[in-house]
Structure formats: structure tokens, C-alpha cells
């Protein structure tokens, strides 16, 4: 029955990819509407009811634009780089469990594309590879703003990748597994503290790790206040200054898909994913992810942008020591818990 599992996996993956692309389109609408509300504006409201057709109109507009390649660009790399960014972005969602196994037509359909035992590592690795699209695009554009944006992005992603990875180590120590399925199963247990019965969500046992993960995730996805690689007031548009039309939108889409994937990941790792007070299911995951997405927009509306040296200082002088401290503390508690101390 190996082929059957493969086909089911493909179908789930196909559905997931399309859902993700649709969500991404409406994420742009959501961001623009929420941001507008926060800034005493109305936001897109002309295309369809509440401007709901705006993402489609934007997509058509971007497709119809001219695809310009600058004369002194490295042509091949310039053309491929946005695709690399875009193609890698949704892959992270493949390991996120969307629910328990579904039984349909006598077939077990697991509601995730791939249950791999190193899922967390896989997601982190994808984040690292995704930065190639940015670096190559910035380098190949033959523009100094792009180059500076790409350099900033490289340094930023490498630094925050480290914090992101280390902040998760605490969770991994507690759950004892790198598989998201196992981490989720651990969180679905109840935690009894005297009269209180709480869910065993890792945000309760790992609040510091959660905060670090959130900050690093914002930096990892190049969003405000860490949006230095594309700081429009300094670097025009950063690494995608020279891109136009649909190639430009590939970067744009990749950023939004990354935001959604990171939000789903944060919800799964720290907030118990599909676990909820009543009727566990994918809707709980959606609500939690939506909260994170709202948080992204909220940050953008509120905070100024960091300077490059401050950004690096924050990562290496504050967040990294805190992450290491968290690992040490979690390790000690764990050892004490199993009676090794």
C-alpha cells in the first residue's frame, strides 16, 4: 500500500499548497485593511465587497506588467532568484499537522503532508535555504541598493536563524522529539496544577523561548521592525529594487507565505496547534495563526525600524545569551524532573 500513501500525501500536499496560496492572497488584504484601520484610513474597499477582490486585481495587474531585466544584471541568476525564494516558502507547511487522521473511503488520510522525525530541523533548514533567493536576487540585480539589502539580509537571517533554532531547543528538551506530531501530542495532555487544569502548551512552560521565537521569527521573515533588507526609506526597496511585475510579486508572495508558515509553526510549537478547549480541530490552529498574523501587522503599524548595528547587537548580545540561559534552565529542570540531579 506504499503507492496509496504516496498518492494520498500528494493530494493533501496539493490541497494544502492551494489553500496556502489563497490564504497568502487574503493575507495581503487582511494586512492592508487592519493597517488602514490602525492608521485612520479605510484601506482597499472598492474591488468587490469590503475590497475582497483586491488581491485578485493586484495579481492580474502584476501579471500584466512588463518583466524588466536591467542591462547590467546577471541575467540567469536574476531570473531564477525570485523563483527560488517563492518555491521554498510553502515547503515549511508540509510538516505542520492540521488535525488527526481522517478516515475516508476506507483510507487513512493523515492531515499533514509528511510526518518526518526531524521536522523542526527541516523547517529551520528551509529558512536558511530561503535566504539564497534574497542574496542571489540582490547580487544579480547590479544595483547598489539591492546589494546592500542582500548583505543586510544575509547577516540578519544568519544571526536570527541561530536564535530561532536555540529558542526551540527548550521545547525539544521537554518533548524529547523533533517531530511536530510528537510535540503536538505532548501538548494535548492536561497539566494539573493543584486546583487548576491547564493544557500542557509550551507557552506556559517555555515563556522565554516563546518570546525569543516570536522576535526571531519576525526578523527571519524580514518584517517590521526588522525589515532592514527592504527598508524603503534607506534602500529604496532593498534586494528587490530592480524587480518588476510578477518577479517582484514572487518575493512579495514568499514573504507572506513565510509569515503564514511561521505563524502556523509558532501556533503548533507553543500554543498547542489544533488543541483547543472544545472540539479540537484545524479551526483552533487557524485562530492561533491569525492572532500571530495580526501581531505582525500590529508591529508594523506601531514600531520604528532598528538600525543595522542595533539589530545585530540585539541578536548577539541579548537574544542569544537569553536563549542559552533558557536551554540551561530547561535542561536543569528536566534533569531534576527525571531524578538525575
Amino acid at each position: 500500500m506504499e503507492w496509496q500513501r504516496l498518492i494520498v500525501s500528494y493530494i493533501v500536499g496539493f490541497v494544502l499548497l492551494n489553500v496556502l496560496l489563497g490564504l497568502m492572497a487574503y493575507m495581503t488584504w487582511f494586512e492592508r485593511r487592519v493597517l488602514a484601520r490602525m492608521q485612520h484610513r479605510v484601506g482597499p474597499n472598492r474591488t468587490g465587497p469590503f475590497g475582497l477582490l483586491q488581491p485578485i486585481a493586484d495579481g492580474i495587474k502584476l501579471l500584466a506588467k512588463e518583466d524588466i531585466v536591467p542591462a547590467n544584471a546577471d541575467r540567469l541568476v536574476f531570473l531564477v532568484a525570485p523563483l527560488l525564494s517563492f518555491a521554498l516558502a510553502p515547503l515549511g507547511a508540509a510538516v505542520i499537522p492540521f488535525g488527526d487522521t481522517l478516515h475516508l473511503f476506507g483510507i487513512d488520510i493523515p492531515l499533514l503532508v509528511a510526518d518526518i522525525n526531524v521536522a523542526v530541523l527541516y523547517v529551520l533548514a528551509l529558512g536558511s535555504v530561503g535566504v539564497y533567493g534574497i542574496i542571489l536576487g540582490g547580487y544579480a540585480s547590479g544595483n547598489r541598493y539591492s546589494l546592500l539589502g542582500a548583505l543586510r539580509s544575509t547577516a540578519q537571517v544568519i544571526s536570527y536563524e541561530l536564535v530561532l533554532g536555540l529558542s526551540l531547543v527548550g521545547v525539544l528538551i521537554l518533548s524529547g522529539s523533533l517531530s511536530l506530531q510528537d510535540i503536538l501530542r505532548e501538548q494535548q495532555r492536561s497539566l494539573v496544577l493543584g486546583p487548576l487544569t491547564l493544557p500542557n502548551w509550551y507557552i506556559l512552560s517555555q515563556p522565554l523561548a516563546f518570546a525569543l521565537f516570536l522576535i526571531a521569527a519576525v526578523a527571519e521573515t524580514n518584517r517590521a521592525p526588522f525589515d532592514l533588507p527592504e527598508a524603503e526609506t534607506e534602500l529604496v526597496a532593498g534586494y528587490f529594487t530592480e524587480y518588476s511585475g510578477f518577479r517582484f510579486s514572487f518575493y512579495f508572495l514568499a514573504e507572506y507565505i513565510n509569515m503564514i508558515v511561521v505563524s502556523l509553526l509558532a501556533a503548533t510549537l507553543f500554543l498547542g496547534g489544533i488543541d483547543g478547549p472544545i472540539a479540537d480541530g484545524v479551526w483552533w490552529l487557524a485562530i492561533k495563526a491569525l492572532f500571530f498574523l495580526f501581531f505582525y501587522v500590529w508591529l508594523r503599524a506601531t514600531l520604528p525600524r532598528f538600525r543595522y548595528d542595533q539589530l545585530m547587537g540585539l541578536a548577539w548580545k541579548v537574544l542569544l545569551p537569553l536563549a542559552l540561559l533558557n536551554i540551561a534552565l530547561t535542561g536543569l529542570v528536566r534533569l531534576w524532573g527525571i531524578g538525575a540531579l
Binding site: 534607506e234 503599524a301 525600524r305 543595522y308
Partner: protein, 409 residues
């Protein structure tokens, strides 16, 4: 530095050169760039993100305004002053008409003087709002700009009510105002004064104690008091360094000596202090406006006494032969001030705005020179940019508060 004896293409070819041994990158920022506030061009030499050299290149909005002034009659030049610093048009009008009035030896009636102060202070607030919004936007605080522009609308509404125009108002005239004050205008201004302090608190909530804002502005672009004086800085750029010089206090014009207000001063001379100074200036402007509204006579003439220098009132033109003739001469030939030269400065939202006029007794100025504050203030950019990061440059351009129409003239 740029060698002005060489033609421009030499500068462009320099921009294309990278000297790989010194690991430097020349970055041409502007004239088309989102945060150079118009068409300022800054040639940056970078090593990594650190700025080694910074050369502002101006002139992309040069329209020869001074020369235009020397070929137009005195009253015809007032609309041109609107277009120098186009975010603070009434203040520019004020500086010019006061200079011409000083040259002719006439003075606007008391009521007009109060209303000139009200309009000038409203302009200061409007201009500071544009500065605050764009400055915060440059540093990445997105929402502040929309809040400030929302509140600037209220001021523009007042201008529109008064003279029909919002941006280039052509509001002040030589001798006072020729338009009557609309009856509900004082209440409109009062309502704005009641509302606006709340709005300032809102901006301050977003910025003043925000750790990222502090990190981006404190200790950045420091100018010591003596350096500021040597550069000839005026306005908040000078007062941020702690030098107490405000034209309204130092050389009172209009009726500022009757008004009780304070001149806010900074201590460190960095971007943050200049931010605080300008925020406090907006509060003081509200104080000035409220006092003016309390003191202004409710009726009385708005135009100076009928002399050869002042356009006669419209009603008299229609009813008396003398005024019709005077009006005809004033419009067709213009008026001829006495021979002499005059300099008059006002405290513009950006600093000391001075008009220097040389009259040879003809209806056209022999020489007209505008001392625009942001042109002078901009010269301190290379000094402030020493050892700064690339991201600081946009904060520095913002903190100087330039409007290229006024820099290039």
C-alpha cells in the same frame, strides 16, 4: 568634496567608480529616493554600512526665485514666496511682506498683526506636522505620518476657510489682509487649539519613550553649540543644541513682545533633542494662538492706512474716483518704495527666514535675496554624518527638516 569648476558629468563618472582596494562603495542617494524629501541628492561613500563621506548635491529644484523677484513688481512676488517653502507658505509670505513694509515704512493695523501671528503659528504647526510625519516615516514608524497628516488637514481647512487655498495660500498682502476674517474663523481656530494637545500626546505616546525610537535618535547627529553657531544654523537645529536664539524673542516683530511664550531648548544637540524641541514648539504655538485670539480686536481695519503703497479697498475703488485712479496705478504700474536696502527676518518653522531687498526707487526690486533657513541648515549634514551609519543619514536629513523648494529656491 565636489569640484564646482568641473562640469557635472565628472561627478557622474566618479559615482560609477569603485576603488576595490579601499573597500568603499559610492552610493548615489537621490534625487529620486523615497526619503530625501524631494529632490535632494546625497553622494555617500560607504564602507559596509558606515558612512565615510557625505556630499549633499542641491539644485534639482532651482527655479531662480530670487531672479524672478528682481523682475516682478513688489506685490507680484508674494505668490512666488508661497512656492519656496511650500509646506509653510503663509510664513514665507509674512517674511516678505514684513520686509517690504519695513522698506516702505508702513505697518499693518493691530488686528491684522494678530491674525498674521495666528496664521504664522498655525503654519508652524502644519509645517512641524509634515516634518514629524516624514521624519518618523523615514525611521520606520509608519502610522505617525498618517496621524500628523490627519491633523494637518484641520489647519489646511482653516486656511481654506480664510483665503480659499490650502497649500500655496498667497494669504498675506503688503499692508495687511484685503479679505475680511470670516465670522466663524475664530471659533474654528479655538476648536483646533482645544483638540490639538490631545493629538500631540498621541504622537508622543508612539515615539517619545519608544525604545527603538530612542535608540535611533539619541546620540545621533550631535552638533555642539559652537559648531551650530559657526554653521549659521537657526531654528530647532540650533535650539536643539541649547543655544537660545529665536527671532520672535531676539528681534520681536509683529506683536510677539506682547505674547507670553517659552523657547524650548535641547541639551545634547542630537536628533532626539531636536525632536523634543519641535514637539514643544507646537505646544507653545498653541499657547501663542490662544493668547492672540484673546487679545485680537473683533473689528477694525485689516489693511494699513491708505497710502500709495497699499491697494485701496475694493468698495472705495467702486465708489470714489481717487481710489479708482490709485487702484489703476497700483495694478498697472505698481508702487515705488523709497531707495534703500532692508533685511527682515522672521522665525520660520525651520529657522530664521530673512528677506533682503535693495530698492532703487523703481517698482521692481534691484536685488532680492532670500536667506532660507533650510539651505543654511543643510550645510551641517556632512558634519553630522561623520561616522554615521547609512540608516542614520535618513534620520539626519529628516532632523534638519528641509524642503527642497526652499533650499534650491
Amino acid at each position: 568634496m565636489i569640484d564646482f569648476s568641473q562640469p557635472t558629468p565628472v561627478i557622474l563618472s566618479e559615482v560609477r567608480q569603485i576603488s576595490p582596494t579601499r573597500r568603499e562603495l559610492v552610493l548615489n542617494m537621490g534625487p529620486q529616493h523615497p526619503s530625501t524629501h524631494g529632490v535632494l541628492r546625497v553622494r555617500l561613500t560607504l564602507e559596509g554600512e558606515t558612512v565615510i563621506a557625505c556630499d549633499p548635491v542641491i539644485g534639482y529644484l532651482h527655479r531662480g526665485v530670487e531672479k524672478l523677484g528682481e523682475s516682478h513688481r513688489y506685490a507680484q512676488f508674494v505668490p512666488w514666496t508661497d512656492r519656496t517653502d511650500y509646506v509653510a507658505a503663509p510664513s514665507n509670505n509674512l517674511g516678505y511682506v514684513l520686509a517690504v513694509e519695513k522698506l516702505c515704512g508702513i505697518q499693518a493695523p493691530e488686528r491684522a498683526q494678530y491674525w498674521r501671528m495666528i496664521m504664522a503659528e498655525l503654519t508652524r504647526i502644519a509645517s512641524h506636522l509634515v516634518w514629524l510625519g516624514t521624519h518618523a516615516l523615514d525611521i520606520g514608524a509608519l502610522s505617525v505620518s498618517l496621524y500628523t497628516f490627519r491633523d494637518r488637514e484641520l489647519i489646511l481647512d482653516i486656511f481654506e476657510k480664510f483665503c480659499g487655498a490650502r497649500l500655496t495660500t498667497n494669504m498675506m498682502e503688503i499692508g495687511g489682509f484685503s479679505r475680511e476674517i470670516p465670522p466663524d474663523l475664530p471659533e474654528m481656530v479655538r476648536e483646533f487649539c482645544r483638540y490639538f494637545p490631545k493629538a500631540i500626546r498621541q504622537y508622543e505616546d508612539l515615539l517619545t519613550e519608544n525604545p527603538i525610537w530612542l535608540a535611533r535618535t539619541k546620540g545621533v547627529g550631535v552638533i555642539e553649540p559652537e559648531v551650530a553657531i559657526n554653521y549659521g544654523l537657526t531654528g530647532a537645529c540650533l535650539r536643539g543644541s541649547g543655544v537660545n536664539y529665536d527671532v520672535r524673542k531676539a528681534m520681536p516683530y509683529l506683536l510677539y513682545d506682547r505674547i507670553d511664550f517659552e523657547v524650548p531648548l535641547g541639551t545634547h544637540g542630537d536628533v532626539y533633542d531636536r525632536y523634543l524641541v519641535r514637539i514643544e514648539e507646537m505646544r507653545q504655538s498653541i499657547r501663542i494662538i490662544e493668547q492672540c485670539l484673546d487679545q485680537v480686536p473683533t473689528d477694525g481695519p485689516l489693511m494699513a492706512y491708505e497710502s500709495q503703497y497699499v491697494i485701496p479697498p475694493h468698495k472705495n475703488v467702486m465708489t470714489t474716483a481717487e481710489d479708482m485712479q490709485r487702484h489703476f496705478i497700483w495694478v498697472i504700474k505698481g508702487f515705488s518704495p523709497p531707495k534703500g536696502e532692508v533685511y527682515h527676518a522672521v522665525e520660520h518653522s525651520k529657522g530664521e527666514l530673512g528677506y533682503y531687498i535693495v530698492s532703487d526707487g523703481s517698482p521692481i526690486p534691484y536685488r532680492l535675496r532670500i536667506r532660507s533657513p533650510d539651505f543654511v541648515n543643510l550645510q551641517s549634514l556632512p558634519y553630522m554624518a561623520q561616522g554615521a551609519m547609512l540608516a542614520d543619514i535618513v534620520a539626519l536629513i529628516g532632523t534638519i527638516d528641509i524642503v527642497l523648494g526652499s533650499v534650491d529656491r
